[in-house]
Amino acid sequence: MQPIISVRHLNHYYGQGSLKKQILFDINLDINRGEIIILTGPSGSGKTTLLTLMGGLRSIQEGNLSILEQELLHATKEQMTLARRSIGFIFQAHNLLNFLTAYQNVEMALEIQDITAAEADTRIRAVLGAVGLEHRMDYYPSGLSGGQKQRVAIARALVSQPKIILADEPTAALDKKSGRDVVEIMENLAREQGCTILLVTHDNRILDLADRIIYMEDGYLVNSSNIATLVQ
């Protein structure tokens, strides 16, 4: 089976000229359909950079990266924009639109999908129900707690039924209980829809939810045998 994300000899640099600094070194990685992967490692190890490259948010400089069988090296801005439409993003900050209700925030994700009004309404209500917010649909983000906002963000990422979910520290702003709840909701919904999750986190409390854990340090992927010891 073709991996859903495939990375080959990926290098990435920040800065120009003498200030140029290499962030990622020869990354090779395959992620299969339906896998739930946690990407962990110390701050500054390049996790987020790798995530933004996979999400089509930054241009590839060296090496190959394909998602859903589309090569992102030399992709145009328009191709990257379209590639992003099959990815659900969940951010550390919820990044909800504060002038939209929970319902409308989720609805935004369907603005760029070809969908009937009835189908959209069904899906929005279902996904908000699944994250336990059926009674908060008409609330603005300012009226929701941190955990509730993050759950709206998850609903927004999932409502378009993406093939891949990329999440960056989704639990960072949450307490232990809501953090775990949020990831579990994400996991359940993803398993139902058969989508792949790549989750960047520092949070050791949720490592057990992953199918596979990838460890990054100083821009290198550390090989898996070492990780086993790390987790224990």
């Binding site: 987020t48 550390q92 639109l97 002038f99 409308q104 935004m108 603005e111």
Partner: protein, 387 residues
């Protein structure tokens, strides 16, 4: 149900959420629109009132001293020129007009104000003004005049008293003159009120004026006569101490005088430009802070796969919504101020559809331009930065 999902009206939802900011924006645009309407209103009133006299002349061709520039900058010429012109083929009749400011005493408080006196031959229809036509024959009596219905309060409540049937006798340049009727002519920026009288009465009141030296000659052509041919003939036959022109050109010259030879036209044009800039700056400020406040959200939308074009449209729509929401109260307030100004100054402040459309277009341009400036900030919304 196969009906496609209706798009969210993001621009309006965003504007609506910040009520205070929305109200400030609407107030700012209304203010700019009111300013523009007022400047244009004054300018329009100035020009339309300045040429009411010109358009009322009952003749296709007007003769003036070659040194005359405007109703407030006249020179005299001998009426013999007019009678020379009467002999030209195509000319039906000629009528002289005397014009001069004369001292009018307000019969109520005895204050003296200059009134603009028009002296015509009462046997001819010289002015196409209904009130003048109806009462022209009465001007054959000595020391009679017709008073201006649209004149300012400073001259006394002449019109009201006359309409109430009172006999009005007042002093004009130290002569007792009786008002025999009313006519309508708007005051201009240079003339506060008019008085129409016969040529003979005019020379009695304006005893400093010499008979036979006139200010304007009105030439009426025979039906079917070629105006340009008569003009050409006049120009070749008459000495160059007089100039002849069509009645329309006479009015245009008056407008051109106010526009070019006085600061008035320029002042009002500058006023419109300043209002436009003020409005533009207000819209820009509002949109810029709106975009800046929502930058992380916009970056999120970009990350979700929205094109830049979508966000540009949101900002552009916001600008147009603000333009329309500001334009409606702005127009309403301007109409109210036109009314008040009309009442207080008797200036013919009139709104016309052309001006409404023009200001609406200016408002839209002003807002769109500000939106375009604010949109540059959108480039700063980098989806890679939100992680």
């Amino acid at each position: 149900m196969t009906q496609k999902k209706k798009p969210l009206f993001l621009s309006w939802l965003q504007l609506r959420k910040e009520r205070a900011r929305l109200l400030v924006a609407i107030a700012g645009i209304s203010f700019a629109d009111v300013l523009m309407f007022l400047q244009m209103g004054f300018r329009g009133a100035l020009f339309s009132s300045a040429v009411e006299f010109h358009h009322s002349l009952n003749g296709e061709i007007v003769m003036l001293s070659s040194r005359s520039r405007s109703l407030i900058s006249l020179d005299r010429f001998t009426e013999r020129r007019l009678y020379q012109a009467a002999g030209i083929t195509g000319v039906a009749s000629v009528s002289p007009i005397y014009l001069n400011a004369i001292q009018w005493r307000n019969p109520e408080n005895k204050e003296i104000w200059d009134i603009y006196a028009i002296g015509i031959n009462p046997e001819h229809q010289v002015l196409n003004i209904p009130g003048v036509e109806a009462n022209r024959e009465q001007l054959r009596q000595p020391d009679t005049a017709l008073f201006n219905l649209g004149s300012r309060q400073e001259f006394g409540a002449i019109a009201q008293q006359f309409q109430a049937g009172e006999t009005i006798i007042t002093e004009i340049n130290e002569r007792q003159v009786q008002i025999q009727g009313l006519f309508k002519l708007s005051p201009t920026f240079g003339i506060n009120a008019y008085l129409v009288t016969s040529d003979i009465n005019f020379l009695r009141m304006a005893d400093f004026r010499q008979g036979g030296l006139i200010d304007v000659g009105v030439v009426k052509l025979q039906p079917g006569a070629d105006v340009q041919a008569v003009l050409t003939e006049m120009r070749s036959r008459l000495p160059d101490d007089v100039k002849v022109m069509t009645r329309d050109d006479y009015a245009k010259a008056e407008v051109a005088f106010w526009n070019a030879s006085t600061p008035v036209g320029y002042t009002f044009d500058l006023g419109v430009v300043i209002a436009f800039i003020v409005g533009g700056v207000i819209v820009y400020q509002i949109l810029y802070s709106d975009v800046t406040d929502h930058l992380p959200e916009y970056a999120t939308l970009k990350a979700m796969g929205f094109r830049d074009r979508y966000l540009l449209m949101v900002v552009f729509q916001e600008a147009l919504i603000l333009a329309i929401l500001g334009f409606i109260p702005g127009t309403a307030i301007a109409l109210g101020i036109y009314r008040i100004t009309n009442f207080a100054t008797m200036l013919p402040m009139a709104m016309d559809l052309g001006r409404i459309v023009f200001v609406l277009i200016l408002t839209a341009i002003m807002s769109s331009f500000s939106a375009a400036m604010a949109m540059r900030k959108l480039q700063a919304a980098d989806p890679a930065d939100i992680f």
